[in-house]
């Protein structure tokens, strides 16, 4: 029992230990290799890091819930792009232009609704047809991306509104809007997952679907709500990012699903469902962003960043397996 607690402690604390290691490493390595005069662990730099991790982070929070359910969503990148296009394009519709700055909340609403509807479509298909979520969202990843391209061809969609940019760059004690949204989303979903019936059901469904059905949990609607949630969060991520940037390319958001899944897995969520936490995912998101930023700080290029993140993902999987198997007299096959 005691060793069980110990191994749980190691597992839950691992991601934070990793983050501390990263911080120390890049701080020291930065002294030698960095061309920048600034220290890596500078407050401004850390705040910037939080802001930059927001787009993937917001999606990763939703992905955690989906993966605790034992499902997966590969369509979030395409959803992200489509919602961004809806938001920016709607700003230049004639009736919206006549509204002045009041068009902004309306544009956000359109984008968030789009995201929720796209999630709803995935959820209904998963629920009603019984096709595996991996296949359903693999299909809609192609389909939603097709819609993105049908909207405006290969041209970028842009609409720059300075009020919107001001909102996106507003800050509270130096923490800018995207970072605030990320923190708020993580906090709310953490509360839902740890303190509410819906959260408890999410673990139950992922752990043992049969048992969940027997315990009178309505598995279909439950999963549907989670798919709507991740669609909504993908839209929210697009809203926070593109309010500031004002221009979206049809290829934007590609591979986002893979980054989000990477962060979630680093944070300790199991692919088979039933285990995982929002706090862990938060750590996973920060760890990845630290790695990208830190490697950039000491002068490594994107190639090295990709290589290192890929290898770390595999190493984490290996270590996790070693930790789990130990002491669990598993059948050796």
């Amino acid at each position: 029992m005691k060793s069980d607690n110990m191994s749980n402690l190691i597992k839950n604390g691992a991601i934070w230990g990793f983050i501390v290691l990263e911080l120390i490493f890049f701080q020291i390595a930065g002294e030698f290799w960095s061309l920048s005069e600034r220290a890596f662990m500078d407050l401004d730099n850390m705040l910037l890091l939080l802001k930059q991790s927001a787009p993937i982070g917001i999606i990763a929070v939703g992905m955690t819930v989906i993966m605790i359910n034992g499902n997966i969503d590969l369509s979030v990148g395409a959803t992200y792009a489509l919602c961004a296009i809806v938001m920016l394009d709607s700003m230049s519709w004639p009736f919206m232009e006549s509204l002045g700055d009041w068009a902004i909340p309306l544009a956000w609403l359109f984008a968030l609704l789009t995201g929720a509807v796209l999630g709803l479509i995935n959820g209904i298909i998963v629920w009603k047809t019984g096709v595996d979520a991996f296949i359903v969202t693999l299909g809609s990843m192609l389909g939603y991306r097709g819609l993105v391209f049908m909207y405006n061809g290969e041209n970028p969609t842009y609409h720059l509104n300075w009020t919107m940019v001001d909102i996106a760059e507003w800050d509270l004690f130096g923490v800018e809007t995207p970072a605030l949204v990320f923190l708020a989303v993580a906090l709310i979903v953490w509360f839902v997952m740890t303190r509410t019936v819906h959260g408890r059901n999410a673990y139950a469904v992922g752990n043992n679907r049969e048992a969940a059905v027997n315990a009178a949990i309505r598995v279909g609607p439950h999963m549907l709500i989670n798919f709507v949630l991740i669609g909504f969060l993908a839209a929210l991520s697009a809203v926070t990012f593109y309010s500031g940037s004002g221009s979206v390319n049809p290829n934007d958001g590609m591979l986002f699903e893979l980054w989000a899944i990477t962060a979630v897995v680093l944070g300790g969520t199991k692919l088979i469902g039933g285990a995982g936490s929002i706090v862990g995912t938060f750590g996973g998101v920060i760890a990845i962003q630290l790695l990208r930023k830190g490697l950039g700080h000491i002068g490594a290029d994107t190639a090295t960043v990709n290589l290192v993140i890929g290898l770390i993902l595999i190493a984490v999987l290996f270590l996790d397996r070693q930790l789990n198997v130990k002491g669990k007299e598993e059948l050796k096959v």
């Binding site: 590969l74 298909i125 629920w127 009603k128 047809t129 019984g130 096709v131 595996d132 991996f134 296949i135 359903v136 693999l138 299909g139 809609s140 990843m141 192609l142 389909g143 939603y144 991306r145 097709g146 819609l147 391209f149 049908m150 059905v213 949990i217 309505r218 598995v219 279909g220 999963m223 590609m254 591979l255 893979l258 899944i261 990477t262 897995v265 692919l271 290029d301 994107t302 190639a303 090295t304 960043v305 990709n306 290589l307 290192v308 993140i309 890929g310 290898l311 770390i312 993902l313 595999i314 999987l317 290996f318 397996r321 096959v333």
Partner: protein, 326 residues
């Protein structure tokens, strides 16, 4: 007797639903537009599907073995960049570049096979990690630059992508030949039966004395061989490549394999069905273009077709249209 035959036909149709749909689609479209079935058009479609098709052949083995391979797109970019770079290197030239590229690509395939087969790590995450890592490797190799063959007239390298033999485009020949060889390997050899056994029920396979790890290892080796072939065709066809030439193809490949009727749980699927899946994707794209629709409509249509195909497949198996999820 006649009734019995009818029953058998019905069962055949239910089992080969995707093939039936394909034939209906082809007949319908050719009646509407005779150009669709024109021999040049047909070869054109198969040729443009060949790269995707060759990769799908390998992934079929991996999927039947009960695993996934998300790294094929990234690995294809790698092999195309490597073969082009070595081709331009006077120390190698085309004769050495091709075998060296195959060896390097298959070494990466062997690494994935080792991680998934022998270390028993989750294939989705491993190949996701490899997708990123191989992309990094490709960027390092190319220095972020596009690769081009400087003197395109002086080399025979273009034959794999641009040549024809007996009036048939070489990529189509490679695709057909590889499909035939792999179909025999999967359907007629002990190795093929072991792949089905491992994917169908890994524990039972182990208890039957089937070396599970080694079988999974070889499915990834076959997959990487196919990816190297696809990379060769791609590089030869365009005589140049970007670092991201294969980006996103892993999911299109998987779509073709699933459309062919392979289950992601493993243990089912055939090479022939995958070829049908690839051709369906190719001909739909072509048909929509001939119908004057936007290029991107094909993605939406593919989405609908994948969902319908898999849904009908499992609906037939469970005998009910709607799922039993409460």
């Amino acid at each position: 007797m006649a009734e019995k035959n009818l029953d058998a036909v019905g069962r055949f149709l239910a089992r080969q639903g995707i093939l039936v749909a394909f034939v209906l689609f082809m007949v319908g479209f050719s009646l509407w537009n005779p150009r669709f079935i024109d021999i040049d058009n047909v070869f054109g479609v198969i040729r443009s599907s060949a790269i995707l098709g060759v990769m799908a052949l390998g992934v079929t083995f991996v999927v039947i073995g009960g695993n996934l391979d998300l790294s094929v797109g990234s690995l294809m970019s790698f092999s195309a960049i490597v073969v082009l770079d070595l081709h331009e290197n006077p120390a190698f030239g085309p004769f050495l570049a091709i075998p060296v590229m195959f060896a390097m690509t298959m070494a990466i395939g062997a690494l994935i096979g080792f991680l998934v087969g022998y270390l028993r790590l989750n294939s989705l995450i491993v190949t996701l990690g490899m997708l990123s890592a191989i992309h990094g490797l490709t960027l390092t190799w190319s220095g972020g630059q596009n690769m081009d063959i400087a003197n395109q007239d002086a080399t025979w390298f273009g034959v794999f992508g641009r040549g024809t033999a007996l009036g048939i485009p070489i990529p189509v020949l490679i695709f057909g030949l590889l499909a035939a060889v792999l179909a025999i390997l999967l359907a007629k050899t002990p190795f093929g039966r072991k792949v089905y056994a491992v994917g169908g029920n890994g524990t039972a396979a182990t208890f039957s004395g089937i070396p599970r790890a080694r079988v999974v290892f070889f499915t990834y080796l076959i997959s990487s061989f196919c990816v190297a072939t696809a990379g060769l065709i791609q590089a030869s066809r365009t005589m140049g490549a970007q670092n991201t030439v294969g980006q996103g193809m892993e999911l299109e490949v998987l779509a073709a394999v699933i459309l062919g009727g392979a289950s992601l749980l493993g243990g089912s699927g055939t090479v022939f069905k995958t070829v049908i899946g690839v051709l369906i994707l190719g001909f739909i794209q072509n048909g929509l273009l001939l119908a004057g629709l936007q290029f991107y409509v094909q993605f939406v249509v593919t989405w609908v077709i994948i969902i319908l195909a898999v849904w009908l497949d499992i609906a037939t198996k469970r005998g009910k249209l709607w799922s039993a999820i409460a």
